[in-house]
């Protein structure tokens, strides 16, 4: 691993701590004797620092992980893909037209989710109470909701 090309190929892994002790030692010993590779590392260092210092840390959206999780845990096996058959232009056009007809049909006549009454007031149900009891487990966290379960007078409509 003594030639410069091999060393320079490993510099990005070295810079991001992906090498084992032995490889790190070899690279450090080479760099101490080779000004070209040392300059290459310096350049890489400055570029990566620029990226690290100017790129905000972003968390992937919750939905991304949730989607992956759901697909991993889905007990129903996914269908095999229709690869070769679908590549035939006539079949592809036929499938496209059929899909369009189904979508139009569903849009025109099918049942669509709709809001039934907007935010109407209702007595606290068992789901709400289960939620309130869970939410009130910490002193700050939604404690009022938890206390309400026990404390609200029965004539207010909350079952207790």
């Amino acid at each position: 691993m003594s030639n410069c090309r091999t060393i320079q190929n490993l510099l990005s892994d070295y810079r991001t701590d992906l090498l084992d002790e032995r490889e790190r030692a070899q690279i450090e010993s080479h760099i101490s004797e080779c000004p070209d590779c040392a300059r290459e590392l310096e350049l890489l260092d400055s570029v990566l620092s620029l990226v690290e210092n100017n790129t905000p840390l972003c968390e992937p959206p919750a939905g991304l992980w949730n989607g992956v999780y759901n697909r991993i845990t889905d007990p129903t096996p996914r269908r095999a893909r229709l690869g070769g058959w679908f590549l035939t232009p006539v079949h592809a056009a036929g499938v496209g037209l059929a899909a369009l007809a189904i979508i139009v049909g569903l849009y025109v006549s099918g049942p669509r989710p709709q809001v039934v009454g907007s935010a109407s007031m209702a007595p606290a149900d068992d789901y709400v109470l289960a939620h309130a009891l869970y939410a009130g487990q910490a002193s700050i966290t939604d404690r009022a909701a938890y206390l309400t379960y026990v404390a609200t007078p029965s004539d207010s409509g909350v079952p207790n």
Partner: protein, 337 residues
């Protein structure tokens, strides 16, 4: 000579005044470490025993409902009861769960939960999603308290103002503002710090013949689907800042609704519950909430504690409960596959 003395006295007074002013301004400029107080208050359940009387107020069906409760708090256990002519309802909770007793129906509902987050992680999550602002100090129940406003970093979220005991970090008063601006509050009117309560105070003693129902218990993700009877999926959409905190098996006390999988998410302060079950077409009890008119419809309700949304589909029923705007609840419910 006399005028020199007078001048000296005046100068000395000016110096003392300036020094005092500087000291006061420095003290005001350096409020207490608010984040540490908030986290400490969040975790104080495990440290400071006390007995207290508190008053609660909350909006309910267009009016303000008020109530008085008594609290016995000892390390990680707490008993809350409502004084009544006969036996009032009570609830006991500890780190593992709670049991709530209703003398009217002679029913003891037991909930056991597992949190995937430690109190420290909850504290960090709270500080990541809320900006704690020190607003001075006041006296509550005869105790000095820091006033701290928890300002949400995300729009359309609930907020909270807390009065935290300077010495014990107990939350003496709190005002919860829901996402639509409604307020509910809790204020301790009388508090006595103790060395700790007798364990017997936290032992449930329901009346003879009481019906006990284990309503909620932690669920193993590998067996949750088979117990519920549907694939319990994570919603594809969850508002930013919320983290998955627990998976539970919830048995509705009505006895006729199917068993649900309950997923809980938290942003450190608020909780989202997502219930999923087989379609509940047979249940006619109103205690399980108003039903959607027909399959495929979405129904939004508000009960004064929090908002809820329900979708009844052919394959499963989804109920989402959280203190979030109705549009957000619907978005979460509809993102469940």
């Amino acid at each position: 000579m006399k005028s020199r003395r007078m001048l000296g006295l005046v100068l000395a007074l000016v110096c003392v005044g300036a020094g005092t002013g500087l000291l006061v301004s420095r003290l005001r400029a350096h409020p207490p470490p608010v984040s540490a107080i908030v986290v400490s208050a969040l975790m104080q359940e495990e440290t400071v025993p006390y007995t207290a009387t508190a008053s609660l107020s909350m909006p309910y069906q267009g009016r303000m409902v008020k109530s008085t409760i008594s609290i016995i708090h000892s390390h990680d256990a707490e008993k809350i009861s409502r004084p009544s002519k006969g036996d009032g309802p009570w609830s006991i909770k500890d780190a593992r769960g709670s049991c709530a007793y209703c003398p009217k129906s002679n029913r003891l509902v037991v909930n056991r939960w597992s949190s995937m987050l430690t109190p420290e992680e909850r504290g960090r999550l709270l500080l990541a999603n809320y900006d704690p602002r020190y607003e001075g100090s006041e006296r509550v129940a005869g105790r000095d308290a820091y006033v701290i406003e928890l300002v949400p970093k995300h729009q359309g979220r609930a907020s909270k103002k807390i009065w935290v005991d300077v010495h014990s970090q107990t939350v003496l008063r709190s005002i919860d503002r829901s996402c639509d601006g409604e307020e509910r509050g809790m204020e301790i009117t009388d508090i006595h710090y103790t060395a700790g309560a007798d364990k017997a105070a936290f032992t449930p003693h329901p009346k003879a013949g009481a019906k006990t129902l284990i309503s909620c218990k932690p669920a193993d993700p590998t067996t949750l689907d088979s117990k519920v009877g549907v694939h319990v999926t994570l919603p594809a959409y969850i508002p930013s800042g919320f983290k998955l905190e627990g998976r539970h098996l919830f048995t509705p006390p009505c006895g006729c609704c199917p068993i649900c999988g309950q997923l809980t998410y938290t942003d450190g302060l608020c909780v989202i519950s997502v219930f999923q079950s087989r379609p509940d077409t047979k249940c006619t009890s109103t205690c399980c909430g108003p039903k959607a008119a027909r399959p495929g419809t979405y129904r939004a309700t508000c009960c004064g504690i929090t908002g809820s949304g329900r979708i009844t589909r052919k394959d499963k029923t989804i109920v989402v409960i959280a203190d979030l705007p109705p549009t957000e609840l619907r978005k979460i419910a509809e993102s469940v596959k």
